[in-house]
């Protein structure tokens, strides 16, 4: 199964931004967390990584900004070999938003949080201001700048953590479980943010269990199971492989199960959203009507 990139043609000839070559990682205690992973990620892609806890997805992603280095194989990010670079340098290219914002945020105001990464990189005052302002605009944080992140509710705090990573303006942004514990509105906000990041030219990597989110994005989806990559394709194609889904303990969104149970839908397709079924029905009705018209016309 060859990965089809989101931006379609020309992708094959393009250089991948991030390239994982035959990577394995064995922890000092002897546990192999990822095994023989090959993966190329291109400009403009949104990539979701799925799999149950302990399947190796977090270990894999920690390689992207150098938190871990492969015990076998090699990874290049923006042309740099992760083994030879500092984590701080790599983190300015690959922003990693942790699942729990409390692990990352600790400063007394939102503005300080946003400036923190740039300060660590010893950026000039003017460059920092430019980047931070961009993040403020992107996340619409203008009137929250002096707030203490701990006075905000959990989804706002998550967003501040995300903004503080984006303030360094990394090329790649990794979101670890961005929708966990979020209400419907929060989940929709995450969806909008992901789309916005993509529009602004970022590569987005999502570690998630949220099948609705992936269904809406219908993005490139990688499934990890027992340290290995078992699927790498467009979400609807991955979701249609019942064997893979079962092996990884995944359940497609409810609407997909519903569509699978219907007898008169186009069974060669997998439907991930309510809208996709509706538009199919619409098309089909129009076709039928046309057919009827042609039939009655002759």
């Amino acid at each position: 199964m060859k990965a089809q990139t989101n931006n379609g043609e020309g992708a094959e000839t393009m250089q991948p931004y991030m390239s994982v070559k035959n990577v394995s990682h064995v922890y000092p205690n002897g546990v192999t967390a990822v095994k023989d992973i090959d993966l190329d990620i291109y400009e403009g892609e949104v990539v979701a990584i799925l799999g149950s806890n302990g399947s190796g997805k977090t270990t894999l992603v920690k390689h992207f900004n150098g938190l871990l280095t492969p015990t076998k194989g090699e990874i290049t990010v923006g042309g740099l070999n992760t083994k030879k670079e500092k984590i701080s340098k790599l983190s300015s290219l690959v922003g990693y938003v942790f699942q729990n914002p409390n692990h990352q945020t600790f400063l007394p105001s939102v503005r300080k949080e946003l400036e923190y990464g740039c300060t660590n990189l010893k950026m000039s005052e003017s460059e920092m201001e430019e980047r931070v302002n961009k993040a403020i605009e992107l996340f619409e944080l203008e009137d929250k700048l002096e707030d203490n992140p701990f006075d905000l509710n959990s989804s706002q705090r998550k967003e501040v953590a995300m903004a503080s990573i984006m303030a360094v303006s990394p090329k790649v942004i990794v979101l670890d479980e961005p929708t966990t514990g979020q209400d419907h509105k929060g989940c929709k906000r995450v969806l909008d943010l992901v789309r916005m990041f993509k529009e602004h030219g970022h590569i987005v990597v999502l570690i998630t269990h949220d099948m609705h989110l992936i269904g809406e994005l219908n993005c490139r989806t990688i499934v990890m199971n027992q340290s290995r990559k078992i699927a790498d394709d467009q979400a609807d194609i991955v979701f249609s492989h019942k064997g893979i889904m079962k092996e990884a303990g995944l359940q497609p969104p409810q609407i997909t199960s519903f569509a699978n149970d219907l007898s008169n839908l186009d069974s060669s397709k997998t439907y991930l959203t309510v809208d996709s079924i509706l538009s199919w029905i619409k098309e089909n009705k129009e076709k039928k009507e046309e057919a009827v018209q042609i039939g009655s016309g002759s």
Partner: protein, 297 residues
């Protein structure tokens, strides 16, 4: 790994935690009563069969290594430099002289560390922390204190794990954790502030959970783990008492006539600890080199 407890089926394991707590007190007392290197050594040798009975020889030797390191240091440094020494015993590197009185002092001190260490290791490795907690409760220690003691065992690995996540999370914010000393001191804030908040939140949440599990309920509490003082405990306690009486007798009436400590004993025990430490060092270096060689492959 939650604690140092090693579940084994042995006589020592089946003793009541209270007996073992008394045993630790007994060992400490003995090590102070027997204020002589030879007698200390005797005590150490006498404790070893208990380690064998507890089936803990290997883990015991591993954990005692570190104490041995202390012993070597104390014996060497004190033996040469402690000013109470007058009588030279032997010389190394032409000029560094070990003196008798200093060696006696240093040996007593380092053997005491080993003796108390052995007693403590025996207790910790053979007593389930929950049993210790419920034994404490039987001694009328408040429930909440016993609980705090026990939950400390539980929270340490959790904090250690969270600390690692926080460090990674801060590195992901471009923080350089490998810097000079000033940089490292500065890094303590981004490390400890989140860790403190997270731990606080966890403990706070746990307090609600405890409330929901009726922890603050007044009245009689029961425990799943039953600890009972049985005949084995009584014989053990009697044995300890007998030894203690004998020790006191020895100390009070025999000390004058008994002269076990000699130059040879002191010298041999010093050299003995050196040799053991040398072995440890060689083993450590060997493993390092092996690791390096293995890493290249």
């Amino acid at each position: 790994m939650n604690s140092l407890y090693m579940p084994k089926d042995s006589l020592i394991h089946s003793l009541d935690p209270r007996t073992k707590m008394i045993f630790v007190a007994f060992v400490v007392a003995s090590s102070f009563i027997m204020n002589d290197p030879a007698l200390q050594l005797l005590l150490l040798v006498a404790l070893f069969p208990l380690v064998v009975i507890a089936k803990l020889v290997k883990p015991y030797l591993i954990s005692i290594q570190f104490l041995l390191l202390f012993a070597v240091l104390i014996m060497t440094v004190h033996g040469i430099y402690n000013p109470i020494g007058v009588t030279p015993v032997f010389e190394i590197f032409g000029g560094l002289t070990f003196k008798y009185e200093s060696m006696v002092y240093a040996s007593v001190m380092s053997f005491r560390i080993l003796v108390i260490g052995t007693g403590a290791v025996l207790f910790v490795m053979t007593t389930h922390p929950s049993d210790m907690a419920s034994a404490l409760v039987k001694w009328k220690v408040p429930h909440s204190f016993a609980f705090i003691l026990l939950s400390t065992f539980q929270i340490i690995p959790i904090i250690a794990r969270e600390a690692k996540i926080v460090m990674e999370a801060q590195q992901a914010r471009c923080l350089d954790v490998k810097g000079n000393i000033i940089q490292r001191v500065k890094n303590l804030v981004p490390m400890f502030a989140p860790l403190f908040i997270i731990t606080f939140m966890k403990v706070h949440q746990l307090s609600y959970v405890l409330e929901c599990r009726a922890f603050s309920r007044k009245g009689n509490k029961t425990s799943l783990r039953e600890t009972n003082i049985g005949s084995l405990d009584y014989s053990f306690l009697l044995g300890m008492l007998a030894v203690l009486v004998f020790e006191i007798y020895l100390k009070l009436f025999m000390m004058g006539s008994l002269q076990l400590t000699t130059d040879a004993l002191l010298t041999y025990s010093l050299i003995g600890t050196w040799v053991v430490c040398g072995f440890m060092l060689i083993k450590f270096l060997f493993k390092r080199v092996q690791g390096k060689v293995g890493g290249v492959n």
